[in-house]
């Protein structure tokens, strides 16, 4: 499914799963991806601290806005999910 890109509430400084601010650590090479950004569906999760969060986001919708860390209003339906931030808009899976 193609996400509605009119907002960027999934991408930003906050983890969509746990709501914490991403650490500023940078990726130190090795066999992991060539940047410090992992992808879980359409949700970008930065840094190694949130790898588990990234894995979780394969099986659940984001709960926190990537831009501001506010809790999202999330509606899950059998074939899609919608997540809304009062400041940064709505994203549909």
């Amino acid at each position: 499914m193609i996400p509605n890109r009119s907002t960027s509430s999934l991408i930003g400084s906050f983890c969509g799963h746990c709501g914490e601010l991403y650490p500023t650590e940078t990726f130190d090479g090795g066999s992991a991806p060539p940047s410090n950004v992992l992808q879980a569906g359409d949700v970008h999760v930065a840094g190694t601290a949130h790898r588990e969060c990234a894995a979780r986001l394969q099986l659940e919708p984001p709960r926190y806005c990537g831009q501001c860390g506010r809790r999202l209003k999330v509606q899950v339906s059998p074939h899609a999910w919608t997540a809304s931030c009062s400041r940064h808009g709505t994203v549909t899976s």
Partner: protein
């Protein structure tokens, strides 16, 4: 190819072959405990027997269902596994679904070949506002979609049971979740008896009872056997089998994921407890069993699936399950409007 050990190596499976497969009588609690304690090498034989029981007593069809939350979060109850309780610091926010969205979801669910669409609300029991919403939703869905409608709205009064039955709700979900002896460790805001009362009223009113289990919450094998026996005694039409997916912020957030082999043993045991019941894969199977386990369960007693997402978490894509059913040569049960 795996070689399955013959059931003759395991006396409880030989007993089950006669008692459950041939005579159609479910195993007792003590017998179920023996199944749950079978060693790993016996699991394929237990699943194979459970599959034969399912084929003989239920047929080869698989019942497909979609579920949706009409009211998410903010529940006043304290079920320790639930991210929708308003009493825990869970990231799930309260939200109501509007009716056009609900109808759209029902249409999409029907398009997968599903015959069941279950409307769920995170409440102790429905108030007038929710009952009115449900009535409105049922009417709109019935106007536009050919699908059986089920509901799961918590504990009901007799009047509410009668209303739902008269509106054509053909099945009502109200889970036992766990064994009576473990229930107080998991829920303190209502009792097991209250759950049983709703289940009894639902059956009495002629609706099909869907009454499920959530295993992997720290209960012992004895309690798992107790739960299967208690469910069997209720004679529900359907048992959805959930595996704990520990939710952030809930008291069970740090509970270890259930071992996959234990989950498979439980699937076989539940089928051997209830030879004729619809046994549905529900939440948590993706984490606990993965793709391979999903297949093993469908060849081990499961004869129904929830397709797509759950209430607050995501499931496998519906297409993955539907393709698997084709691969396994298991036809999807067709719609028979019961009411």
């Amino acid at each position: 190819m795996t070689t399955i050990s013959p059931t003759t190596e395991y006396p409880i499976l030989e007993t089950a072959r006669q008692q459950v497969l041939e005579d159609g009588i479910g195993l007792t609690e003590a017998q179920l405990l023996e199944v749950l304690r079978l060693p790993d090498p016996a699991v394929p034989a237990a699943l194979e027997l459970a599959h034969q029981v399912r084929l003989k007593h239920c047929g080869e069809d698989v019942e497909v269902e979609g579920i949706i939350s009409i009211k998410t979060g903010g529940c006043p109850e304290d079920c320790h596994f639930c991210s929708q309780s308003g009493l825990f610091d869970s990231p799930v926010r309260g939200v109501w679904l509007d009716i056009p969205e609900l109808v759209r979801a029902a249409k999409e669910t029907a398009a997968t070949g599903a015959t069941e669409f279950c409307i769920v609300a995170a409440v102790r029991g429905p108030d007038i506002k929710l009952m009115n919403q449900i009535k409105f939703a049922i009417d709109r869905i019935n106007e536009e979609v050919d699908i059986n409608i089920a509901c799961s709205l918590g504990m009901l009064t007799q009047r509410q049971v009668d209303q739902l039955a008269s509106w054509g709700v053909h099945r009502y979900n109200h889970n036992l979740e766990t064994a009576r002896s473990y229930f107080p460790q998991v829920v303190t805001t209502h009792s097991y008896e209250e759950r049983l009362e709703t289940c009894a009223m639902v059956k009495e009113a002629g609706m099909e009872l869907c009454c499920g289990a959530l295993i992997g919450m720290g209960e012992s094998l004895e309690q798992r056997a107790e739960l299967a026996a208690q469910l069997a005694a209720l004679e529900p039409h359907e048992v959805p089998l959930n595996f704990l997916n520990p939710r952030p912020g809930t008291p069970l957030e740090n509970q270890q994921l259930m071992d996959g082999k234990d989950a498979l043993r439980a699937i076989a045991a539940f089928r051997l407890a209830m030879p004729r019941t619809v046994l549905r894969y529900a939440g948590g199977r993706e984490l606990t069993l993965g793709d391979l386990g999903t297949r093993e369960g469908l060849l081990g007693g499961i004869n129904a699936v929830i397709v797509g997402n759950y209430l607050t978490t995501l499931g496998r894509p519906a297409a993955a399950d539907l393709t698997l059913l084709v691969d396994l040569n298991m036809p999807i049960k067709e719609l028979q409007k019961t009411l």
